[in-house]
């Protein structure tokens, strides 16, 4: 494959299109990286009635879109989609494939990587190209406050998943022109061994934490489940949403839905209150876009305190009580 045929692919994950912008965010980063290795940026779309998304991806910077369209592809299917992705990748040999770390993407990407016999890094919070032209995948690592730079030196393509909200999409340009390559569904497509019996919308109640202007996160430093509950009152006063760290979710102080971080939600509030959180990278990976961080912790050396705009050295629980009281006064007046 000659140099000028190099390409970076982005998997077109269009389910929940209006909430899920991760494909557009990945296209934006792919464009920046493609420049460094003189590659083209391509989106891959599988499904039925997908022209709308093909148009959107071109408007957001895809120079080429590979499309496999067929009624049989109407529903997302891990087996079929990963089979088709492998086939396309073997024919067109992309240098890099990015997949959004949606629930589907997190299952799809490892299957595709395994089929292709290549490496995959999960939940990258940074992507770059080094002096050797290799993709540097920056990901939280080792259950602590660490980031790892990972490369895939030999096997191709180089693959990474990225959480929604990690990169910024570029504004759309409906005058942009892209090449659309339509590929027929292979006749020898194996039958899907996992049958979809039914699918229904899962409705979550209320405001989404990803969109909240104020998020009140609590960690183990709150002390107990009972004390943790105080954050709910505070959060309500602030018109905010509750967030949590992994240990708190494990301890069942709060539902998994509230988990903020690498494996949970990526948030971008104007103000983030962080109560009794040490700041393991698994958590802080999800708060990189917070505007103003107020951290409360007894330990001034906690990573979270170092990341904060305002670091308050205090007992998280006592401070919560005092802050709630003062807010009530001020909101009333």
């Amino acid at each position: 494959m000659s140099e000028n045929n190099r390409s970076i692919w982005v998997f077109g994950d269009y389910r929940n299109y209006f909430q899920n912008r991760v494909t557009l965010q990945l296209l934006s980063r792919a464009i920046e990286l493609a420049d460094k290795i003189s590659a083209s940026v391509c989106a891959v779309v599988m499904g039925h009635d997908v022209d709308e998304y093909v148009g959107e991806y071109i408007a957001h910077g895809a120079q080429k879109v590979y499309v496999i369209e067929h009624p049989q592809l109407k529903n997302y299917s891990i087996e079929t989609y990963s089979y088709l992705m492998e086939r396309l990748a073997r024919i067109y040999k992309p240098e890099i494939i990015f997949v959004g770390a949606t629930m589907f993407g997190r299952e799809f990407a490892p299957r595709v990587a395994k089929k292709l016999g290549t490496g995959l890094t999960a939940d990258c919070i940074g992507l770059d190209i080094n002096e050797d032209g290799l993709l540097v995948q920056i990901a939280p690592s080792f259950g602590g406050n660490l980031l790892a730079e990972i490369i895939t030196p030999e096997s191709r393509p180089q693959m990474a998943t990225v959480r929604p909200g990690t990169f910024q999409e570029i504004p759309h340009d409906y005058n942009a022109v892209g090449e659309v390559i339509r590929i027929p569904l292979p006749e020898d497509l194996p039958e899907d061994r996992v049958r979809l019996i039914s699918t229904e919308r899962w409705r979550k109640k209320g405001q989404r934490i990803e969109d909240a202007r104020v998020v009140v996160c609590g960690g183990r430093g709150m002390g107990s489940k009972k004390k943790y509950k105080k954050l709910f009152e505070l959060s309500q006063l602030l018109g905010g949403i509750i967030g949590a760290t992994r240990p708190v979710v494990y301890a069942k102080w709060v539902d998994e839905e509230s988990l903020v971080g690498q494996a949970g939600k990526h948030i971008r509030p104007k103000v983030l209150f962080s109560f009794g959180i040490s700041g393991a990278i698994q958590h802080t990976a999800g708060i990189g876009d917070a505007g103003f961080i107020i951290a409360i912790n007894k330990n001034i050396n906690a990573t979270m305190m170092k990341m904060a705009d305002v670091a308050i050295v205090a007992d998280a629980n006592q401070f919560c009580t005092a802050l709630t009281r003062e807010l009530k006064k001020r909101i009333r007046s």
Partner: protein, 277 residues
């Protein structure tokens, strides 16, 4: 007879562990370990299947020799045998090679399995990749992030939440599922049961030779991904530190940042008269 396989992982109890700066991998041998929480839910799912349908549960883990502990604990919960994959050559495997090695061991020790269950992700690395990659290695149907399973003959019916959809899926066994922490609350193991398990466990130890694999196929050497560098992310904020009693600090916070907070919550937080005790 229903043959169930559960793959579990020992994860560190503490989150801050030393890592080997030379190889860029975690020095797991220094950690106190526990069964990864999601793996415990997978064990519980297998135990419930066994209670309902009968059968046998083989538990696999890969790690340093001390990882044997989690196999004892699994047997205290009610599983039948444990297989420990331990070998220096296996160390430092990425998800792809971990899945490869586990698959080799499963096919050697339990080739006629009906269902493999894994936790949906581990608390120490959270990639959620080994389960799906094991599906590929074993070439069976599989589904990730399942919170409900029901076995009807050789058909497994599953439910999962995937990107705002509740999906009901079916597949014919043999197959593989990864189990979330939503349901299958793991059963409690009394200390006595744990002690008994340590004495009477059925554990098989497997090394690279037993699988007929050499260094070129295992561990760091075979892994397609390589770790270049590990570092601590640096802070870039102004970082104003406030200290004192909770009450005093709250006052100071509002004195200095009421506009900031008020702007975010779209409320005027100014008070005319300064608040005094």
């Amino acid at each position: 007879m229903l043959k169930l396989v559960v793959c579990i992982k020992q994860v560190p109890l503490v989150s801050e562990l030393p890592w080997d700066s030379r190889t860029g991998t975690l020095r797991r041998e220094l950690a106190e370990g526990m069964i990864n929480p999601a793996c415990k839910h997978a064990l519980e799912a297998a135990l419930q299947l066994k209670q309902k349908h009968g059968g046998e549960i083989a538990v696999f883990t890969m790690g340093p020799p001390m990882a044997e502990e989690v196999l004892h604990e699994a047997q205290a919960m009610g599983t039948d045998r444990g297989i420990l994959l331990t070998d220096r050559l296996m160390a430092g495997a990425d998800t792809s090679i971990t899945a490869f090695t586990l698959a080799k061991a499963i096919l050697k020790e339990c080739p006629d399995f009906d269902l493999v269950l894994c936790g949906c992700y581990t608390s120490d690395s959270e990639t959620a990749q080994v389960g799906p990659q094991l599906v590929e290695e074993l070439d069976v149907p599989g589904a990730a992030n399942v919170h409900h399973i029901e076995l009807i003959g050789k058909t497994l019916r599953m439910k999962r939440i995937s990107d705002n959809f509740i999906e009901t899926l079916e597949m014919e066994l043999p197959g593989l599922v990864t189990i979330t922490t939503q349901e299958f609350q793991p059963r409690y193991v009394p200390l006595k049961g744990l002690q008994d398990a340590f004495e009477g466990s059925d554990i098989t130890r497997i090394g690279a030779d037993d699988l007929g694999l050499d260094m070129g196929k295992l561990g760091t050497t075979a892994s397609p991904t390589k770790i270049l560098n590990v570092y601590s992310p640096t802070a870039k904020k102004k970082n104003i530190v406030l200290k004192g009693s909770a009450k005093k600090v709250v006052e100071e916070l509002f004195d200095r940042f009421e506009d900031k907070i008020g702007g975010a919550i779209r409320k005027d937080l100014k008070v005319e008269k300064k608040y005094n005790e």
